[in-house]
């Protein structure tokens, strides 16, 4: 009969074997363009420093170079899927940022304020709410996912 410690160790090892080694980005629609503004590995290591530095440059000094602008990151990396929909950050399988962050369990609050989709997608959503009589900032305090569901239900009618 194995001891408790040995059983726990076995369970942990099994968990490590079956858990993913990398984030699953299979459902993320491909980004625009040939390549990112920086090397992928460089971005993996430095993207948050870049964002943190760039935000001060932009807000305090009005420097808005497109290379490291968050808006541009979103414009390139968040593209439409086959149905023509743009994922929101709450969609952990299809949003470019969400897949890795969910895997790495690093929570970010960028998208509490910043748009997680390109402007065209946002404007489209807004027009849809207005047509359906929903004030985008009103009523239920439901999460964005609920809104997607709601608009899907409304458009299915």
């Amino acid at each position: 009969m194995k001891s408790i410690t040995q059983i726990c160790a076995l369970v942990l090892i099994l968990m490590m074997i079956v858990s993913p080694v990398v984030a699953d980005s299979s459902k993320v629609p491909p980004p625009k363009g040939e390549q990112c503004v920086e090397e992928t590995e460089w971005m993996r290591i430095h993207h948050f420093e870049t964002i943190l530095h760039q935000r001060d440059e932009t807000v305090l000094k009005g420097i808005r170079t497109t290379k490291h602008s968050l808006k541009n990151c979103i414009d390139c990396h968040i593209t439409a899927n086959e149905e023509g929909e743009y994922a929101r950050y709450s969609n952990k399988e299809e949003h470019f940022c969400a897949t890795c962050h969910e895997f790495a369990a690093v929570s970010i609050d960028c998208f509490h304020c910043h748009s997680d989709r390109p402007e065209s997608a946002v404007r489209e959503s807004i027009e849809k709410y207005k047509k359906d009589g929903i004030n985008p900032h009103h009523g239920d305090h439901s999460s964005a996912n609920d809104l997607i569901l709601k608009s899907k239900l409304l458009s299915a009618q």
């Binding site: 000094k61 009005g62 420097i63 808005r64 290379k67 402007e119 807004i126 004030n135 305090h141 964005a144």
Partner: protein, 260 residues
């Protein structure tokens, strides 16, 4: 000062091969042409001021607004609607917690029964009380005179809202979604009119409200550079004057009114 700033920035600047370069030279060319085409001494087009995207703003420019109250009409809301549309604000007019960056104020003298209405927004003071009181320095004045909130540092204490004499600031009381990419805003932070910084930094020379007033309203709002004596706003201020709301506070506002 400008030299120092651009020198410092050159150390940090990355090579930018986006279409900005061609846009800059195009704009520069147009500005030159416009300057030649119009009578000397009168520059109607503000593109001479348009700063390149990768340079810091400087205090060479001081953005300001002039509102001609006599032209402003009681039942026109073009400026308010334009601002809401530009920044993704959808205030429910009956709600006490929704954000309003600009609103039409109706002022009535009970003695003479004379009544006026005009838009009021953040006055972008030179000595802003909101900047003085912010504990973290999130409320700040940019070099070009625009007073705004750095949402990355704002802790949502609302002291700036207590301090503002113009009730310019709003607090975001609930979760937002579908914020427009040009105007990030979120729950727990304080916000106010930012003179459409995203437009100005991109080379535009006006704000959404001024633009709407010129196009759909009564041409009551003029936006421009207060530091440039040739700008329309400076010339109008020189010829017809302009008052500040609460001038007694000595804040030297960037927004002036004619006809109050």
């Amino acid at each position: 000062m400008k030299k120092l700033v651009s020198k410092a920035y050159k150390l940090l600047r990355t090579k930018d091969t986006t279409p900005d370069q061609s846009k800059r030279s195009f704009m520069g060319g147009v500005a030159g042409a416009a300057g030649l085409a119009v009578a000397p001494g009168v520059m109607l087009y503000e593109t001479a001021q348009a700063k390149p995207l990768d340079e810091a703003v400087t205090d060479q420019v001081r953005w300001g607004m002039l509102i001609d109250v006599n032209s402003c009409s009681d039942d026109c809301n073009a400026c308010v609607d334009a601002c809401n549309d530009e920044h993704g604000l959808w205030p429910d007019k009956t709600s006490m917690t929704d954000s309003q960056w600009i609103r039409k104020l109706t002022v009535r003298d009970p003695q003479t029964e004379h009544s006026q209405s005009f838009p009021v927004m953040c006055q972008h003071c030179e000595n802003p009380p909101c900047v003085d009181v912010c504990p973290t320095g999130a409320s700040f004045k940019r070099a070009d005179g625009i007073v705004l909130v750095n949402m990355h540092t704002c802790i949502g204490c609302r002291y700036c809202m207590m301090a503002c004499p113009y009730k310019a600031r709003s607090f975001v009381h609930k979760d937002l979604y579908d914020q427009l990419p040009n105007t990030p805003r979120g729950k727990g932070c304080v916000e106010s009119c930012n003179m459409c910084v995203h437009k100005l930094d991109a080379g535009d020379d006006t704000t959404a409200c001024a633009q709407a007033c010129q196009k759909d309203g009564h041409q009551a709002i003029v936006f421009g550079d207060l530091n440039d004596p040739q700008s329309e706003i400076s010339q109008r201020l020189k010829s017809h004057g302009g008052t500040q709301i609460r001038a007694d506070l000595g804040l030297n506002t960037g927004v002036r009114y004619q006809g109050i």
